[in-house]
C-alpha cells in the first residue's frame, strides 16, 4: 500500500476540512467517541452482521484521505473494534477502503452508490475484495442512514453538522 499524503488537494477534501478539526488531533480523545458510535450502530442493527459471513473478524482500514489518521474497523459483534490510528502506525489489515470524506459519508448516509464511486475512481479498495463486498452489503442493508444515527447521538449540534455536510455534498455533486 502506498503512503498517502494527509491532505491531498482535492475539492472534496478542501470542503471536508472546513468541518473537521485541524491536525494534530489527540487520537485518545477520539477513541471513546468511535467506540460509542460503533457500539450504538451494532446494537441498533444486530442483523447486519449476518451479511458479513466469515468476514466478521476481518480487519478493515478506512482511509479518509482528508484525515491525518486512518480508521481501523473490525465488525465482529463479539469483539467490536473501531479506532483511529496514526498513518505512521497503520496496522496490517485484510482490506483497505480509501476515499474522500464526503464520498465515504455518502455511503453511510445511504446517499451514494459504492459501485458508482468505484467507476469514477473516487473510491479505491485493495486487499480482500470479498470482505469489502460483504461489508458494503451489510451496511447497505441498514434501513435509514447510519450517518443520521451517529448525528442523532450528538443531539442538535450533531444534526446541524450532518446537515452542513449534506449541503457540501450536494454542492459537490451539482
Amino acid at each position: 500500500m502506498e503512503p498517502v499524503t494527509p491532505y491531498p488537494p482535492t475539492d472534496d477534501n478542501a470542503r471536508a476540512r472546513t468541518f473537521l478539526p485541524a491536525p494534530p488531533l489527540p487520537l485518545f480523545l477520539l477513541q471513546p467517541v468511535l467506540r460509542r458510535i460503533v457500539t450504538r450502530i451494532a446494537s441498533q442493527n444486530p442483523d447486519m452482521f449476518n451479511r458479513l459471513g466469515p468476514h466478521k473478524s476481518a480487519n478493515f482500514i478506512i482511509d479518509v484521505t482528508s484525515l491525518p489518521f486512518v480508521l481501523h474497523l473490525r465488525p465482529d459483534p463479539e469483539d467490536l473494534l473501531f479506532r483511529a490510528v496514526a498513518r505512521s502506525r497503520k496496522p496490517e489489515a485484510d482490506a483497505e477502503i480509501r476515499g474522500g470524506f464526503l464520498d465515504l459519508l455518502g455511503l453511510v448516509d445511504g446517499d451514494a452508490d459504492g459501485d458508482a464511486l468505484f467507476f469514477s475512481r473516487d473510491l479505491t479498495i485493495t486487499g480482500n475484495t470479498e470482505a469489502v463486498v460483504c461489508l458494503r452489503n451489510a451496511l447497505d442493508d441498514v434501513d435509514g442512514s447510519i450517518a443520521q444515527s451517529v448525528a442523532d447521538m450528538f443531539g442538535p449540534p450533531g444534526r446541524a453538522m450532518l446537515s452542513a455536510l449534506r449541503r457540501a455534498s450536494a454542492r459537490k455533486k451539482s
Binding site: E2, N50, R51, L52, G53, H55, G106, L107, G110, D111, A112, D113, G114, D115, A116, F118, F119, S120, R121, T124, I125, T126, T129, E130, V132, V133, C134, L135, R136, N137, A138, D140, D141, V142, D143, K173
Partner: protein, 332 residues
C-alpha cells in the same frame, strides 16, 4: 396502451423496501445460494427475510418475482427444487427461470404461480418462445439484449406471452446464459454457481502513480490510468494486449451500461409489457435514483407527456451509456 410493469432489483430487504417506495410495480430477488445469477457474498435473502419482504411488498401493491435463473448441474437439482417450493410457501408472485428442468418442475408442481422465462434462457425467436409457452405455460419472456425495437415489435405480434426487456444497467450480455469466461479463469460458473467474477478471486492493485489494475485469478483484465473511469472486474469488459493491436483492446465489450430512457416510448408502443432495471448487486442509493427516474418517465408517457430524462450517467459503468442493440445492431 396498458401501463408497463416497472420491474426493479432488490439485493437486500432494505433495497426491496427502497424499490417499493420509489414506485416499483414488481421487484425481483433471490435466495443466498447458487439458484440465482447474483450469488454474491453478503447479498440476497434468507427465507425469513423474504417472507417479511413479500408481506411488505404486497401491502404496498408490489409484486415479488423470485429469480431461480441458474442451471442445476447433475446431482444438485434438489437445491433448485427446494428454492422453488420455498418460494411457493412464501407467496412469490412469479418465478424467473432459465433451465427447462426447473421450468418443468414448476409447471407440474406449482401450476398456479406465474412462470417468467429469464434472459438467461436466451430465447430470441418466436419459435423458441412459443415452445416455452406451450411446454411450461410461460407467461412472460425476458428478451435477450440483442434485439432491435422493431424486432421486438415483430416478436410481440407472434407470441402468446408478455414481453419484458431490460431498460437500464449492466450490459454484459455475450451469449446470455451460456457465458463460460469466468469459469475458464476461476473454475466457478456464472450459469451453475450464479456468480461471475467471484469477489474472492478479484484483486485491485493501485500503484504509486494511482493507476489501478484489476486482476481475476492469475489474469490482469484491465489497467486504468489515474484519470480513467473504471468498470466491473468481468472478463467480458476486460482490455487485452494482442500482437495485432498497438494498445489495450476491449475484445468483447466495453465497460458501459445500458440506458434506454430515450427509447421508452418506442418500447412501450412496440408492445413491451414490462421494463426491467438491472442491479441487484447495487446499493439502495442506486435503486432509489434509477427506479424513481423511470417511474416518472413511464408515468409521463402514460399521461401523454414528454418523459423527463434524468441524468443517470454517474451511476453507469465506466460512466458511459449505450442503447446497445435496441437502437442498432452495429453498437459494437
Amino acid at each position: 396502451m396498458r401501463p408497463p410493469e416497472l420491474v426493479c432489483p432488490a439485493g437486500t430487504p432494505a433495497a426491496m423496501r427502497t424499490a417499493v417506495e420509489a414506485g416499483a410495480d414488481a421487484v425481483y430477488c433471490g435466495f443466498q445460494n447458487a439458484t440465482n445469477a447474483r450469488n454474491f457474498p453478503g447479498l440476497n435473502f434468507t427465507p425469513g427475510e423474504l417472507e417479511r419482504a413479500i408481506r411488505h411488498a404486497h401491502e404496498n401493491g408490489t409484486k415479488v418475482l423470485l429469480a431461480i435463473n441458474t442451471f442445476p448441474p447433475a446431482g444438485k437439482v434438489d437445491l433448485w427444487r427446494d428454492a422453488v417450493d420455498l418460494g411457493a410457501r412464501l407467496g412469490v408472485d412469479a418465478y424467473i427461470v432459465a433451465d427447462i428442468g426447473v421450468a418443468d418442475y414448476i409447471a407440474r408442481n406449482h401450476p398456479d404461480i406465474r412462470l417468467h422465462l429469464s434472459v438467461q434462457a436466451a430465447a430470441s425467436s418466436p419459435e423458441a418462445i412459443k415452445w416455452y409457452c406451450r411446454e411450461f405455460g410461460v407467461k412472460r419472456v425476458v428478451l435477450p439484449r440483442i434485439l432491435t425495437v422493431s424486432e421486438i415489435k415483430a416478436i410481440a405480434r407472434e407470441i402468446p406471452c408478455e414481453i419484458e426487456t431490460f431498460i437500464f444497467g449492466n450490459h454484459g450480455l455475450m451469449v446470455e446464459g451460456r457465458c463460460s469466461l469466468t469459469n475458464y479463469i476461476t473454475g466457478q460458473s456464472t450459469n451453475y454457481d450464479g456468480v461471475c467474477s467471484p469477489a474472492a478471486d478479484v484483486e485491485y492493485r493501485r500503484d504509486e502513480e494511482g493507476n489501478l489494475s484489476t486482476r481475476l485469478g492469475d489474469f490482469t483484465i484491465d489497467c486504468f490510468s489515474c484519470n480513467e473511469t473504471a468498470g466491473y472486474p468481468t472478463i467480458c469488459k476486460g482490455r487485452y494486449l494482442t500482437p495485432a493491436r498497438n494498445e489495450g483492446y476491449y475484445a468483447f465489450e466495453e465497460p458501459i451500461s445500458l440506458n434506454l430512457s430515450s427509447l421508452l416510448p418506442d418500447l412501450m408502443a412496440a408492445g413491451v409489457n414490462a421494463l426491467k432495471i438491472e442491479g441487484r448487486q447495487r446499493s439502495r442509493a442506486y435503486v432509489k435514483n434509477v427506479v424513481s427516474s423511470f417511474r416518472k418517465a413511464v408515468d409521463a408517457i402514460m399521461a401523454g407527456e414528454e418523459p423527463p430524462l434524468a441524468d443517470l450517467i454517474a451511476l453507469t459503468e465506466g460512466q458511459k451509456q449505450t442503447e446497445g442493440a435496441f437502437k442498432s445492431k452495429t453498437w459494437r
